[in-house]
Amino acid sequence: MPRESLTGSRIRERRVMRALKQANLAKQIGISASYLNLIEHNRRRIGGKLLLDIADVLGVEPQALTEGAEAALLGSLREAALAARLSDEDAARAEAFAGRFPGWAEALANGQRRIAMLERTVEMLSDRMAHDPHLAASMHELLTTAAAVRSTAEILADGDALEPEWQHRFHVNIDADSRRLANSAQALVDYLERGQQAQAGGQSPQEEVETYLEEHEYRFEPLEQGQDPARVDALIEGSASGLSEAAVFVLRGVLEQVAKDAMMLPLSALEAALDGDCPDPVALARQFAVPVAVVLRRLAALPVLGAGLVVCDRSGTVIFRKSIDGFSVPRFDTCCPLWPLFASLCAPGSVMYDRIGQLGRGQVQFDAYAATDLSQAPDYNAPALSRAVMLLLPAPAGDTSRPVRAVGATCRICPRTACIARREPSILAG
């Protein structure tokens, strides 16, 4: 991507660094949050007065937004300062440091970027190697067959005269094992290639659906018009033809939920009722006489709030996620049990509210609201299929009125040593 087309990414980076909500920035520069969202995702070009206004609000020179190298350098230096727990005073000297010692600044920034990249790699591989049963089984099969081939080949090659019967038997064995090894290796390569394709193009059903929802910005106007199954069918027919069968199954469940929620609480009504950037989900639930879980899902669909959403079923399995920068939701691994999501699952009917931040993620803070509802219609003696919903709103910049609860993503990659909820040692410990 050409440098100038990344201006939106730099604006987003600077805004997140200042813990400024998208809606807040949009309001200050007089544009809609959805338009700013398009700019930040590099889908709209930006220049002139608008760029000057944004730079002014973000407290940076306009060039810092359009000249990638400098912006990236300062961003990495600030991340390094945060990781080293430098004081705000020291962190603020990043620009002066870069100006006076450009070579050292570049070296430090490169180191910081490499650490960030390695952390992401460790996170992904750890997640996959430890908890992907198919990969573990494939590796086991491969190593076991390799062991048989190696031992047998060494026996055949070690020069001692073998009795014809043994020699024949080992030849037969090594022939069979070598074929098995080739098949196992090919199966593993196929699997890993599918994984790479999944990463590149959203091949797992959940990922396909997440990509689809992102492309539609989590908003489906036809479903806001009323709950009619035909509308879901039409939507899927008209816009989801590229999805796999499994992804369509998942998507249908999501869209049917959107339609139900829209009937109870249309987004237009919710938008009209919003007062400022810090919605009160319980107050909104009272105002509209709807369950809090509905309000949380609906708030997550409003681009103006830039919110994240995580939904889990009664087993604690994450079944839906709307990603938000600064909060990691593991794809394969089990999640941190300290999330309000799980507290809510254990206390149906309660509404949880906590300010949280994930360790090792730049200390981005979120106001997390969680509530439960049932995923099925009521019936006599039917299992109560509770479902917990957690809304993540970026905490207001500079607001220290609430303590921040440190949570993790998953134990294996969580650096917090003293944790009552730890299930297994962290590979980042020590």
Partner: protein
Amino acid sequence: MTKHVVLVEDETNIAEAIRFLLGREGWRVEMLANGSNAAEVIRAAMPDLVMLDVMLPGKTGFEILAELRGDPACSDIPVLMLTARGQARDRDQAMQAGVNRFMAKPFANDELLATVRELTAGRVS
């Protein structure tokens, strides 16, 4: 006297290679392909060495090892664990469970034989 090893391994061709290697060195190799009754067989046989795979049908190698170490009559029998699960935490788990040696597959035959000799030095049936 002939030394006696119980080999619990469900991969036939690995078991056969090990049987050949140890047999050539004068060992009597008793082979089991299922973990479910392995501890009972070992208790009855009281071999000079036990070789255990980890991923077995019936019972895992870790479960069999725990049974042996929990039985005073069998607690001194050397156990060599062979596994394709060569991760550090598997090794730690095996060591904590009282294994004498842990070898990751694939292994070299010379290495296997040297380990067997080392573990059974001084033990005679």
